[in-house]
Subunit: 669 residues, 2 copies
C-alpha cells in the first residue's frame, strides 16, 4: 500500500485523508475510516464533475452533493475546505465536533452553508438525494424551454453499507428507479466493513442486482482505492444514462493507508491513535504536520473557486437570455427560488360559516389543498398509496411520472419512511418547492425518523395525517392512533395541528405554508365534523383560543382539540342551560400556544381558575401541563379496538352526556 | 370468468371467497379483494401442506401461518372457520369488525387463538415470519438429535404488494436470505393493485429479481387464479429447497369473480355493495345464501381436524421417544415451551455495593446479559450493527448463522425496523425464546412501528437502547435522544426503564425477563455512573422509590432517572449541609409506578408536598404529571448539539451546582 512518489492527484487525495485523520485525532472522536477509503472517488467527483460555486453555496443550478454516510462527515468538511467554501475554514476543521463549531459530528445543513441536508441517521441521505433529483426533474420540466435551459444539474450521493441495509433507502431507491431519475448518481462506498466488522456477518446480498431490480443502471469499479480512471469513466457513463438513476459500486478499503487498521471495523468509528497516525503518515509518505495541506494540492483544489464562479456566471448569462424571452416564467422562477410566497395567496384559503355542511377535516383539507394549489404553483406532494383516503390529490395537476415530471401529484407507493425523507430533500433544495405528504396518522411511526429530521434540519414539509383517532373505526388498534399525537407533540420544532373544522383547517395550512423552516403535521379526521361558531382561520395562529365563554372566570373550562371540540360545544350548551358558567377553548396547536406571551396564555387559562376538563380522543400523555391542578381529561390509556367508529367513541366516553358528567365531577372537586 | 360446474376444489375456494364477501358486506367495512384473489393459493396451502391442529392451535410443532397482508383478515378467519378452529365460529364471522368480536379488522394474536402474530401495518408480518423461522431453526439446532427430530416445521407467509413496498420487509428478507432460512416460504399475492389502483403508478421494480439478490429461491406462478397444480408444485419445490428461503410470486386477480370490480382498486378496501355481491354470486355460480357453506365443501375442509389430530399425535409419539432417550433435553424443552423460567434464575443477576466501580449502564447491562445468559438458555438476541457500542454480545454462545443456528448472538445488520419486527415473531412463537435487540436510543424512531406492535401484541421483547441522552456527546443532535424517551413512555403496555446504576440495571432486567406478555425497553448510558447507596434490584419493581430522605415531609423532593439520579444525590448532600430537608427519589420506570396503589404513590410523592425538582437529561414532555404544582424540571426543550458529552451536559445545566440552584428556586416559590 506504500506510495512512493506522490503525484498531484495523490497529494490531493491524501490531503482529504489527513485532514480527516488529524481532525478525528484532535477531537478524539469521529470516523476516519470512510474519508480515508472514499477519498479517491470523492476527489474524482469533485475535481472532474461537481459543478458548485464554493463562494455561493446557494447558487441555484449547483450540483447537489449528499454524504449519506454522514458519520464520515470529515470527508465532506475536508472537501469543502479544500474546494474553498468559506463556511469550513481550517480552524473550523480543528474544532471538529466541539461545542458551537461549524463542523458537527454529522453534516447539518442548518449549521454549515454548502451542506444540502442533514445526514447521519443511516439511509436518510440517499432518500434526500432522491428528493433533490425529483425537484430538479420537476423544475426542469416546468421551466425549461426547447430553446432555453435554466434547470440542469445532477445529484450525487455517497452512501455506504449501512445506508444500503436500511429499508428506507430501499423504498426511495425503488421509487427513483420507477421514476427513471437519470440525473441521480449514487456512489456506493463498498468497503465490506461496518461497525460490527466484516459485512459478511449480516449483509451478503447482491446489492448491484437489487438496484438493477429497482430499474437502476449499475456499474462496478473493482478498485476504488487507486483506479481513478475507472472511477472517472464510470461517472461519465452514469451521466450518459439519462433514463435511469445510476449506482456505482465502488470497491474501496476502509481506512486505506493505515497499516494496521485498514479493512477493519476498528477504523470505522474511532480515532486511529497517535502511533497508528504516525504509521499511516509513514505508509502514505505524508511528511506534513497535522492540518497542513501541501501547497500544490491546495492550489489545485482551489481551482474549484474559479471554476465555480465560471459555472455561475455562465448560468447567469443563460438565465438572462431566458428572461429576455420568457419574462413571466423568469419572474416566477425568481420568486420561487427567493422563497417568497405569491402576494395574497392566503386569500384562496376556504372559509366556512356555522351553517355550512359538516365535513371531515380530511375533506376540508382536500378543499384547502386544491384551493391553494392554484395560488401556490410550488405546492407538490402526495400520499403513500392512500390518495383516496387521505384526499390529497391536486385535481388537474397531473402525476409526476417519467415523461411527465411537470406533474404535481407524487405517487409514493406504500413507502412512508422513504416518502418523508424524500420530502425533506425537496424542502431543503432551496428551489422554493413546498412538499406535502400523507398517510394515516398511526403510520407516523413508520416515518418518524424522517419527521424528526424535518424538525431538526428545518425542512418545511407538510405532513397530512388522516384517520386521526379511534373514530376511524373498524380497522382496529393497529390503525388507531392513541399515543401517536403525544409522541409527535414531543418532537422539538414540529408544529402539530389538530383542526376542529374547516376554518381551523385553513388556518393550519396557512401557518404550514408560511413556515418554510419548520415542518407542520396536520391530524385530520375520517368522520364529519360541524362548522363551529366562533372558529376562524386567524385564531389558529394563537395555538389555543376561546371559542365561547370569554367573560370573567368560568366555573369550568372545557378544552378540546379536533373532533372533540364540537363535543365540548354541545356539552357547554347543556351545562349553561343548567346555570354553569362554561368556557370552551379550542387548542389546535400546542406549539403555537407556547409561542404566545404570558398575558395571552393567562387569558385562555387563568392561573386563578384550575377547573379544566380536557377532551381529546387520545392518550393523556403530556396534557397535565394544561390540565390544571384540579383538572381532568377524557382520554384513552390503552390501545383502541375494532368496531364502528361511532361505537368506539361512545364506549370510550366521547359523548356529550359523558363530557357533561365529567365536567360536573371536576366542578364538584 | 364464469365457472360452469363446480368441482369440490372450486366449492372449497369459493367458500372462502363468499365468507369474505358476506362478512365484509354485513360489516359494511373491510377488504374483500385479497381474500377473493388469494383464495386458491390459500386453499392449496392449507389443504395440501399446512400442518396445524385446529383443535390445539398452540401445538408446538405446528406450521406457522402468517397473513402479512393483514387487511385481508377475512381470508384468515374464513380459513380458520373452514378448517375447524374453535376460535372462529360462523357467528364470529358474522360479527366481523364489531365491538368485542373475535374477528377484528386486522388479525390480532391476543384476540383470536390460532393467529400467530398481529399484522395489518404493512410489511410487519413477513418480518414476523422471518422471526418465526429463525426460532424454528434455533430450536431445531438446539434440540434435535441425529436420531430424533422434534422441531421440524415450516413458516408460510402470504404477503402483498404493500408488504413488498415497505422497507421493513426488505430489511428482514435480506437477512433471511443471508441466513438461508430454508423453511420460510412466502407466497406473494402479486395482483398489481393497491389502494391507489394499478401498482404501475409507483411500483414497477422486479420483485423476483430483488429477492434473488437477497439470496432467496424465487418461483413464479403465472396463473394463481385457477392453476392449482402449479401452485401445489411450486410449494413442493419451495419445500425441497432447504438452504434458501422461498418466494412464490403468484399472479392473481384481486376481487376474482366480481364482474365489475375485479382487478380494480375499488375492490381492495370496500364492500362490494349489494348489486355487485349478487352479480358475483351469479358469475361464480354461487347459489347459497350469505354465510352458508355447502356441505361438500365444509366436510372436505373439516378433514383438517382429523389430519391435525394425527399430526399432533405423531409428534407426541416422536417426542415420547425423544424423551426416553434424552430425558434432560426433553425436560428443558418442555420447560421452555411451557413458558416457565428456570427456578432461581434471578439469583444470577449481578448485585452492586456503593463502593463498587463506576460503570456505564450499558456496561452493567453487558454484565447482566452475560450473567443471566447462563441461567436462561432461552435468551437470544443482538444488535443492529452496534454490538460493541451497545455491549450486547453473549460471550461464548456463538453467532446464529447459516450452519450454526444454535448460536445465540443474532447479527441484525443496520436494520433496526426489521430487527424489532423479527423479535416480535420470535417472542410470539410460543417456544419460550426471550428475544432482545439493541441499537442507540435515538434510533427507536426507526423501529417505532415494531415497538408499538410489541406492546399491542403482548410480545415480551427486550429492547436494549444505549447512548440514552445528550451525554453521548460528539455524534450530535441526529444521534442524541431528547424527546425519544417521552415518546416511548407514551406507548401503552410498554415498560420503559432508565436505570441509575448496576442494581437498577439488574432490577430492570428482572422485570423484563419475567414479563413475557409485555415488552420492556431499557435506556442505558454511554457514560460511567457511580453505584448508588440505597439502590436495589427489588426497588425497581416499584417504578419509583426513595433513595434517601424518607422521613417526614421534606422541603424538596429531587426526582431523577438514570444518569441524573447521582446528580440528585450529590445535590442533596450539598443542600442538606445547608440545613434543607431533601428527599431523593429514583424513578426508573413510570409504568411500574403507575401499577402501585395510591398509598404507596403517596409515600413517594405526598400530595401535601408539591415542591419537586425533576432532573432528567431529556424533554419535560409528560413530566408535569409528577412535577407537582410548585415543581420544576431541568430539562432539554430543543435538539442537542455536537460536543463532548461532559460539555454538553454542563451547558444544558446538568451539574450539581445547577441542581442545587434550581432546587433553591423551587423551595423559594
Amino acid at each position: 500500500m506504500v506510495v512512493a512518489a506522490q503525484s498531484l492527484e495523490e497529494l490531493c487525495i491524501n490531503s482529504i485523508r489527513f485532514l480527516a485523520i488529524d481532525a478525528v485525532e484532535k477531537a478524539k472522536s469521529g470516523h476516519p475510516g470512510l474519508p480515508m477509503g472514499a477519498a479517491p472517488m470523492s476527489f474524482v467527483l469533485w475535481d472532474k464533475f461537481l459543478r458548485v460555486n464554493p463562494k455561493n453555496p446557494s447558487w441555484f443550478n449547483r450540483d447537489r452533493f449528499v454524504l449519506s454516510a454522514g458519520h464520515g462527515s470529515m470527508l465532506q468538511y475536508a472537501l469543502m475546505y479544500l474546494a474553498g467554501f468559506d463556511s469550513v475554514s481550517l480552524d473550523d476543521i480543528k474544532q471538529f465536533r466541539q461545542w458551537g463549531s461549524k463542523t458537527p459530528g454529522h453534516p447539518e445543513n442548518f449549521e454549515t452553508p454548502g451542506i444540502e441536508v442533514t445526514t447521519g441517521p443511516l439511509g436518510q441521505g440517499i432518500c434526500n438525494g432522491v428528493g433533490l433529483a425529483m425537484s430538479e426533474a420537476h423544475l426542469a420540466a416546468t421551466f425549461n424551454k426547447p430553446d432555453a435551459t435554466i434547470v440542469d444539474h445532477y445529484t450525487y450521493v455517497i452512501l455506504g453499507d449501512g445506508c444500503n441495509m436500511e429499508g428506507v433507502s430501499g423504498e426511495a431507491c425503488s421509487l427513483a428507479g420507477h421514476l427513471g431519475l437519470g440525473k441521480l448518481i449514487a456512489l456506493y462506498d463498498d468497503n465490506h466493513i461496518s461497525i460490527d466488522g466484516d459485512t459478511a456477518v449480516s449483509f451478503t446480498e447482491d446489492v448491484g442486482k437489487r438496484f438493477e431490480a429497482y430499474g437502476w443502471h449499475v456499474q462496478e469499479v473493482p478498485n476504488g482505492d487507486t483506479d481513478l480512471d475507472a472511477i472517472q469513466k464510470a461517472i461519465e457513463v452514469a451521466k450518459s444514462v439519462t433514463d435511469k438513476p445510476s449506482l456505482l459500486k465502488v470497491r474501496t478499503t476502509i481506512g486505506y493507508g493505515s497499516p494496521n487498521k485498514a479493512n477493519t471495523g476498528g477504523v470505522h468509528g474511532a480515532a486511529l491513535g497517535g502511533d497508528e497516525v504516525e504509521a499511516t503518515r509513514k505508509n502514505l509518505g505524508w511528511d506534513y504536520e497535522p492540518f497542513v495541506v501541501p501547497e500544490d494540492a491546495l492550489s489545485h483544489w482551489r481551482k474549484a473557486v474559479d471554476r465555480g464562479a465560471k459555472y455561475e456566471s455562465e448560468w447567469n448569462e443563460a438565465f438572462a437570455a431566458y428572461k429576455s424571452k420568457y419574462a413571466s416564467e423568469a419572474a416566477e422562477f425568481e420568486r420561487r427560488v427567493s422563497g417568497k410566497l405569491p402576494d395574497g395567496w392566503e386569500k384562496s384559503l376556504p372559509q366556512y360559516a356555522p351553517g355550512d355542511k359538516a365535513l371531515a377535516t380530511r375533506q376540508t383539507s382536500e378543499k384547502t389543498l386544491n384551493a391553494i394549489a392554484q395560488s401556490l404553483p410550488e405546492l407538490i406532494g402526495g400520499s403513500a398509496d392512500l390518495t383516496h383516503s387521505n384526499l390529497t390529490l391536486l385535481k388537474g395537476y397531473g402525476d409526476f411520472q417519467k415523461g411527465s415530471y411537470d406533474g404535481r401529484n407524487l405517487r409514493f407507493g406504500v413507502r412512508e419512511h422513504g416518502m418523508g425523507a424524500i420530502c425533506n430533500g425537496i424542502a431543503l433544495d432551496k428551489s422554493g418547492l413546498i412538499p406535502y405528504c400523507a398517510t394515516f396518522l398511526v403510520f407516523a411511526d413508520y416515518m418518524r425518523a424522517a419527521i424528526r429530521l424535518s424538525a431538526l434540519s428545518q425542512a418545511g414539509v407538510i405532513y397530512i395525517m388522516t384517520h386521526d383517532s379511534i373514530a376511524l373505526g373498524e380497522d382496529g388498534p393497529t390503525h388507531q392512533p392513541v399515543e401517536t399525537i403525544a409522541s409527535l407533540r414531543a418532537i422539538p420544532n414540529l408544529l402539530v395541528f389538530r383542526p376542529a373544522d374547516g376554518n381551523e383547517t385553513s388556518g393550519a395550512y396557512k401557518i404550514a405554508v408560511e413556515r418554510r423552516h419548520q415542518p407542520s403535521l396536520l391530524a385530520m379526521t375520517r368522520q364529519a365534523l360541524p362548522q363551529l361558531d366562533g372558529s376562524s382561520i386567524d385564531a389558529v395562529a394563537r395555538g389555543a383560543y376561546i371559542l365561547s365563554g370569554s367573560d370573567d372566570l368560568p366555573d369550568i373550562i372545557l378544552v378540546g382539540t379536533g373532533s372533540e371540540v364540537s363535543l365540548c360545544v354541545s356539552a357547554a350548551e347543556k351545562l349553561r342551560a343548567e346555570g354553569h358558567k362554561v368556557r370552551v377553548v379550542s387548542m389546535p396547536c400546542w406549539e403555537l400556544f407556547e409561542e404566545q406571551d404570558e398575558a395571552y396564555k393567562n387569558t385562555i387559562f387563568p392561573k386563578a381558575d384550575q377547573k379544566r376538563l380536557v377532551v381529546e380522543a387520545a392518550s393523556s400523555f403530556g396534557w397535565h401541563k394544561y390540565m390544571g391542578n384540579d383538572g381532568a381529561m377524557i382520554s384513552i390509556e390503552r390501545f383502541g379496538v375494532s368496531a364502528p367508529g361511532g361505537v368506539a367513541m361512545e364506549k370510550f366516553g366521547y359523548t356529550v352526556d359523558n363530557v357533561v358528567a365529567e365536567a360536573k365531577k371536576v366542578m364538584g372537586k
